[in-house]
């Protein structure tokens, strides 16, 4: 969870200071996939923080993030979040719509590559951290 908040803060700063790209949304999607329902409160807080940094109406991003979280959790089984193809599809769709609405940006080749690279990196990070958590749990049960 600490890692999540560090990454979220980093994403918010990069997104609002340097580069108009929805890094925070991507992290939110990944955190919902990794943490499931436990991620709802951090997702809400991330939205409020992003609103504060981006000078938007407070609550707007948290509402959007919660809707995205609901979609992922609701269709968890149908979309098979274990399958990277479904996850990539969802990420590309969500990032594309968010970029268009908030940053008036269409997918360019560079942003497509960035989305793909970030998705792969974050999925890899999720798989590492979740395997570590499972390992710790196993130790505890033994």
């Amino acid at each position: 969870m600490r890692l999540f908040f560090v990454l979220i803060l980093l994403a918010i700063i990069i997104e609002t200071v340097f580069l108009p790209y929805p890094f925070t949304l991507m992290l939110v999607i990944m955190s919902v996939i990794a943490l499931g329902r436990n991620s709802l409160l951090p997702v809400f807080i991330s939205g409020i923080l992003l609103d504060l940094f981006a000078m938007r109406l407070w609550g707007l991003d948290s509402l959007i993030f919660l809707v995205v979280a609901a979609l992922i959790l609701r269709y968890n089984r149908k979309f098979q979040t274990g399958n990277p193809l479904y996850v990539f599809g969802f990420i590309f769709m969500a990032i594309g719509v968010y970029s268009l609405v908030f940053y008036r940006l269409l997918f360019s080749p560079s942003s497509l590559v960035m989305t793909l690279v970030l998705s792969v990196a974050l999925l890899y990070l999720i798989s590492i951290t979740s395997s570590q958590i499972i390992g710790e749990k196993k130790k505890l049960t033994v």
Binding site: V17, F18, F44, M55, L57, G59
Partner: protein
């Protein structure tokens, strides 16, 4: 768990409506200062890093520019003497006419603290900035104030679709400048009969609250379809956006 979810959604909606009604402004004012400080520090300290890719891509162009600047510098030394002389003459004439102010525009200096879709400035309503004011960098138009809080303000850039600037070329052709997908500037709503050529200089016409004669850019490509009512052109900005640190917000007094 469902209960928690709906509670959070309800809380978001409540916060959203409270903020819409400006109820949260006192809290926002308290939190804005540290946020602004963090953004300002990060933005100003990383200028050299952000400049690196720009320098690498435009190395040859910058080298030529440096040579031209050196020539201009020499010419400026000669001009400086003449300007001093004219300034003294101008001051004495102003005194005679009883108008000490050089223009009817008020300039508010501001530092850029972030540059994502919008440019963010470290000055807000406390400094006298209001929505709709024009933002300049020297004699170049940067954009228009979109949103203002107590200590921060957001600027819509010329590359944004949300901006519309009445503009005129050096040949007297009128039209409107707007952005396209945060990448390019378009000069549109130009009548088919009006002359438009490559390298024409586009500047503000002085309407809709924008000061006149501020440079927007040069025509780089003309898109003309005889069947259409208007023709349009792509404009390339002449301002150095990568190194922008300080700008001026201006309004007519």
């Amino acid at each position: 768990m469902k209960k928690n979810y709906f509670l959070l959604v309800l809380l978001s909606l409540l916060i959203l409506s409270f903020d819409y009604l400006s109820v949260l402004n006192p809290l926002k004012i308290i939190l804005e200062k540290p946020v602004m400080l963090v953004k300002k520090e990060l933005y100003t300290r990383t200028v050299s890093i952000r400049l690196l890719p720009y320098l690498l891509v435009n190395f040859e162009k910058l080298e030529n520019q440096a040579e031209k600047l050196e020539e201009n510098r020499r010419a400026l030394f000669e001009l400086a003497a003449t300007v001093d002389e004219l300034k003294n003459e101008n001051d004495s004439l102003r005194k005679q006419l009883g108008s000490p102010l050089p223009s009817d525009f008020q300039f508010i200096p501001a530092t850029v603290i972030a540059s994502a879709r919008f440019l963010e400035l470290d000055a807000g309503s406390e400094a006298g900035i209001k929505t709709g004011m024009a933002v300049l960098d020297g004699s170049f138009l940067v954009g228009r104030i979109r949103d203002v809080s107590a200590y921060r303000s957001q600027v819509v850039l010329l590359t944004d679709e949300d901006i519309k600037v009445p503009a005129i070329t050096d040949r007297g052709t009128r039209g409107r400048v707007s952005g396209s997908f945060n990448k390019s500037i378009v000069f549109n709503e130009v009548l088919q009969k009006d002359p438009l050529f490559l390298d024409d200089l586009v500047s503000t016409s002085g309407e809709e609250g924008f000061p006149p004669d501020l440079i927007i850019g040069k025509i780089s490509h003309i898109d003309s379809d005889d069947a259409a009512v208007y023709k349009q052109a792509a404009v390339v900005s002449l301002a150095e956006t990568a190194v922008r640190k300080k700008v001026f917000v201006t309004t007519r007094i």
